[in-house]
């Protein structure tokens, strides 16, 4: 695309990892009226992992604060986190486990 620009990441992005490559898109990005979900980002194909990236904003743009396994389509288990190709120390999972699985 001729009008692509480089930007420093800030805020929340969806990501999918496919064959070692991480594809990202802003969590509020849309096509028409529809939000671009993980399945769109993956173009309907299988993924190694999917979730969200949370970058710092304003003063420290571009720094990955954390990432999660939030994906309504793929629902990747936290245990498979190494498939994401992202720093494991920054994952924050568990909010999307059911209360039954959490033993609550």
């Amino acid at each position: 695309m001729s009008n692509q620009k480089s930007r420093t990441a800030s805020g929340v992005y969806n990501f999918v990892t496919q064959e070692g490559v991480v594809f990202i898109r802003g969590a509020n990005a849309k096509v028409g009226s529809s939000l671009i979900g993980h399945v769109d980002l993956a173009m309907g194909r299988d993924v190694d992992y999917a979730g969200r990236l949370y970058f710092s904003g304003r003063t420290n743009r571009g720094i990955l604060r954390k990432w999660t396994n939030e994906s309504g389509h793929y629902r990747p288990p936290a245990i498979a986190r190494e498939n994401a190709g992202l720093p494991e120390s920054l994952i924050q999972s568990g909010r999307f486990k059911s209360l039954i699985s959490l033993g609550m």
Partner: protein, 137 residues
């Protein structure tokens, strides 16, 4: 191109309309920009019945990702207990729609609210029973 769906531009205009008219505008905006439309609903609408209607629409049209946005804006207005009751009512007829919403719902649960937590757990158990029975049959 500048979007015409700007919350700051539209909110004051909508304030002069009746609530029913505001709701119709919100519904029209939903066709163009879900997030802005739901923000607009939050800033203009008051009656619970409109948010109940919006929840029904969200459950009907949203996919596994989008339903999160609907819940984000509607759970605070309707209350978690109401949302869980609606989902429970749809469990037999539309289990897939309920399942989509259930994935995101823990994100909006108030974990210090025991009643809310129990309702959620009960619904989870019902879904589990339904799944087990379905597999058994």
């Amino acid at each position: 191109m500048t979007s015409q769906l700007n919350l700051k531009n539209n909110s004051p205009v909508l304030m002069n309309l009746s609530e029913e008219e505001q709701f119709q505008k919100v519904c029209a905006f939903l066709e163009k920009d879900i997030i802005e439309a739901l923000k607009l609903a939050n800033s203009t609408l008051r009656s619970k019945k409109y948010f109940q209607d919006l929840l029904g629409r969200g459950l009907e049209v949203a996919d596994a990702s989008e339903i999160e946005v609907w819940l984000k804006y509607l759970v605070p207005r309707l209350g978690m207990r109401y949302v869980i009751n609606v989902l429970e009512g749809k469990l037999i007829e539309q289990p897939q729609k309920v399942n989509k919403a259930m994935y995101w719902l823990p994100k909006f649960l108030n974990r210090t609210n025991e009643r809310e937590m129990n309702l959620f757990k009960n619904l989870e158990n019902k879904i589990l029973e339904l799944t087990v029975n379905h597999v058994t049959v």
